[in-house]
Symmetry: C2
Subunit: 331 residues, 2 copies
């Protein structure tokens, strides 16, 4: 295993130390492993928290800041954070307007966020929850009942963060979150396995001449292994199941071509060119896009595609100012 | 070779197609392989162009936009662009204030930019040139006479871009560029080799239990191969030669912990934490920082450290608004 780490068991806490050193505008609670905004939002506004296993950076800690999350709870690599982390974050960010929990659909995350919501409710904090489940690759998976939550989570944190920043109430913020999750679909692929530090070896074997289509962000199996193919064929294998699952014609879309952590930007732009061409020739109008590493799987080489139905309201929220380590514009 | 590409010979042009599709605010000249701002800067201001071999993204094309470059010339992977590309870019961006060429110190780049400057001068365009040579790893190298130009190039493009945007004249812009290059030092390391698409196999062999200290951004040999070590030891091996080469105490610094393309953000933040700790305990004050992939070497796993002497003037230029795909703040 070749990694820029010390001991595998210290990866999370030492990475958080680096985040704290690099981002004085954030505040890191090392005991609870929660990343907060340095400047809390105004009283009465809805607060947003998310979290999950580490190894998907910049998700979620890199999306804490003005216009996105109020806090992110970091679990160990590919391991859900605990309910007490989530409860601490929920109590800390509440400004009286209630708190939205943004949860990717994995069994541990869903269960722990549920428990945290109950604990916070007992403390008098109103909590609503959105569970993202946008991955069309598999119906159920190793780690989920139902579809996995992947790339839509990034777009949702941005859009819903803007709605909360505007001062919309919890019911309205939740409605936007549900609309985004309902209108977004994703599909990923891997050229190589990731290596979890504690395991010390690749999560799965993938021969030199094969790739995995429909991979999960923890290296969970996808739909099938197929021979290595040119980018244009990979693009088709990502676009087709997404368009087969939901109609993206008839309105604008937001498209993300996301890197899994080990694929360089020159390849991601090349893939975006292929994906955009196929989408447009299929009658899909791309109004906004992101290309880069946003929801990763440690050092996995590969990419995922997310397509989101948008409208004037969602585009307006997308364009609103955001100031986080991972996404920043308009400020 | 596992890459998200079609044919190796089409990587550059197809990646540029993706850049054009993703960034409607930029303008791509596919024939000359130049990325321009969509909106040229005002008449009379100094224009900045840079360029070099591809495979270092986001450098340079990702730094075209308000507050940084006016144009970037893209060569084939790890191959200098040609003088006619540079000449076309120079003539196109000139607004009457002259043009600064920002050139990394590699023999091909230096020679071709020199020729382009002569051609542009013959066309009546005033050109000045800054050659960056900040890599302390080796004195001469496979591809250079003198030190290699690496991470300082990123910081220089930001700072000097702000000076040009302010309306300073060419002599003054060049003076800032010289000050930045003189006050910046870098050192890199690799855990794995990169793989050039046209070669189809890793550039060098690096055993599973070794790393290369002082690596170049094309995979050129560094100082030595040493056994794999914990992040804190790697950090020390990057910091020490930099501090031995120039005194960074007594004033603020800007520090960049840069990923080589294949190392995930969780590791880069961990490394930044280690580097920041050593720098601060050595009496170096970090005023600003960058952590992420800014000058890469295709899919190489590893990182580089850049430290730059700053002062109020340079920090003010650093903080000035910038709006490019790779760096964006204040707008």
């Amino acid at each position: 295993m070749k990694k820029l780490i010390n001991a595998p068991e210290d990866v999370l806490i030492e990475s958080l130390r680096g985040v704290a050193a690099a981002h004085p505008e954030l505040s890191v609670d090392f005991e609870n492993r929660v990343i907060y905004r340095g400047t809390p939002k105004a009283d009465g506004k809805v607060a947003l928290i998310s979290g999950g296993g580490s190894g998907h950076e910049p998700l979620h800690g890199g999306f804490v800041g003005y216009g996105m999350l109020d806090a992110a709870c970091a679990g160990e690599v590919f391991t859900s954070p605990t309910p007490d982390q989530m409860q601490a974050a929920t109590l800390a960010v509440n400004r009286g307007g209630g708190v939205l929990h943004i949860v990717k659909n994995y069994t541990g995350d869903v269960m722990n966020f549920e428990m945290a919501a109950e604990l916070a409710a007992a403390d008098g904090v109103e909590v609503s929850t959105i569970v993202t489940d946008d991955d069309v690759a598999v119906q159920d998976s190793t780690w989920t009942a139902g579809r996995r939550g992947v790339g839509v989570t990034v777009l949702l944190e941005k859009i819903v963060g803007a709605a909360a920043e505007e001062g919309r109430d919890l019911a309205s913020v939740l409605a936007i979150a549900e609309k985004v999750n309902a209108g977004g679909r994703s599909m990923g692929m891997a050229l190589t396995s990731c290596t979890v530090p504690a395991a010390g070896k690749p999560t799965f074997d993938l021969p030199d001449d094969q790739m995995e289509i429909g991979i999960g962000i923890h290296g969970e199996p996808g739909r099938h292994r197929v021979p290595l193919a040119p980018a244009r064929d990979i693009a088709a294998q990502l676009v087709e199941p997404i368009l087969a699952d939901l109609d993206f014609t008839g309105g604008p879309t937001i498209v993300m071509l996301n890197g899994m952590g080990g694929s360089p930007l020159i390849e991601l732009y090349l893939m975006y060119g292929e994906v955009a061409r196929i989408l447009e020739s299929s009658g899909v109008t791309i109004a906004r896009n992101l290309v880069g590493d946003y929801i990763t799987s440690l050092d996995m080489a590969g990419c995922s595609l997310t397509v989101l139905q948008a409208d004037d309201e969602l585009l307006g929220l997308w364009d609103a100012p955001v100031n986080t380590p991972g996404l920043r514009w308009g400020l």
